[in-house]
Assembly symmetry: C2
Homo-oligomer: 187 residues x 2
Amino acid sequence: MTPDTDNAQLRKAQDRFIDAWGRMGSVWGISRTMAEVHALLFVTGDALCMDELMDRLNISRGNASMSLRALLEWGVITKAHKDGQRRDYYVAEQDVWAMFRAILRERVKREVEPLIESLGEVRELYPSQGKDAPESARDLDQRLSEMQEVFELVATLGERFAGPSGQGLKVAAKLLAKAPARRKAKA
Amino acid sequence: MTPDTDNAQLRKAQDRFIDAWGRMGSVWGISRTMAEVHALLFVTGDALCMDELMDRLNISRGNASMSLRALLEWGVITKAHKDGQRRDYYVAEQDVWAMFRAILRERVKREVEPLIESLGEVRELYPSQGKDAPESARDLDQRLSEMQEVFELVATLGERFAGPSGQGLKVAAKLLAKAPARRKAKA
DNA sequence: TTGTGATTTCATATTTTTCTGAAAGTTTCC
DNA sequence: GGAAACTTTCAGAAAAATATGAAATCACAA
């Protein structure tokens, strides 16, 4: 097996990973390209510059720029610099748990917090207390307050375990994964 | 305050909830209409038929049909029947925790499982064991296997706590919400 | 079986999201 | 200052996702 064959294999594996992660990106509500840029940086582990990304992924400069900015906001990549070069390089967070926490944090922010806020606002729109509150209003409020409670709990959990403070998620996950098990303890 | 005023208020609150839940729908990677149909069924708590949904949400028959089918697949609504009527009615699961479990289960199925499968396939594409395995291949495999591990753990957790079997999630969530707390114990 | 009301399907239209590329903006170095 | 090297912005183009509505299908009752 020659080095060339090796490289071709690795390159193909990288491409397949980029494709898979990109596809998930669209399921997760982020753009496919953004996920692909992240995948490329993650899977190679290298610091790459914009032109290298554009080349490898066949995307435009504008798209690369916007994707990189979004990934920086998510906190899953950072800027790096090579010696005396002017150009910006980018590297992906290599610790998978840290990456996962960053993703979770951002998703809670985008997918849960706005909903909690809306629920609060909606519940202001009708009187549900006091003797004049009709049955139907109390019904509605019951439903909405239960939902608010659930999502607030989720947000709290997210904050606690994905917050910037530490390893919480990993520990919690392992704990939970084992605790209620009855069988198959060896996995 | 007249009953008419009451109704107008409730109706407005419902509409705002439908709007909020629908907006979240698009963030979650499901169509906005599908989320709105679910929101309407949930927030009213009533059994509604297709024409009622079309009326209230201003959507076409085809759209209503497809959204209902998808919601049935997610397991967050069920068919109901009124006495001798031919027409189908639909009701939303009213237990918020059960609903949340159903959503979580489906999201793991769509967002995590395909990725795990792809990771397995990608890791078959190059040799990473034995003396002929180049450094770069072992590097790559290290990254991919860590990622696989994380997502497998997530899938396991999801299955355990959102599986059809029970209340797992609620209990786990409360446990986690309290356990690592240091301050502010009264919330 | 046939008729009727209800639902599903699917080709096409609409809307929304994403991408491109060239111009404008920055930063760095001479 | 100003020129070169990069990056960002954004209007318009392209692509993808959603919605429509009429025809096809289904299911039940007579």
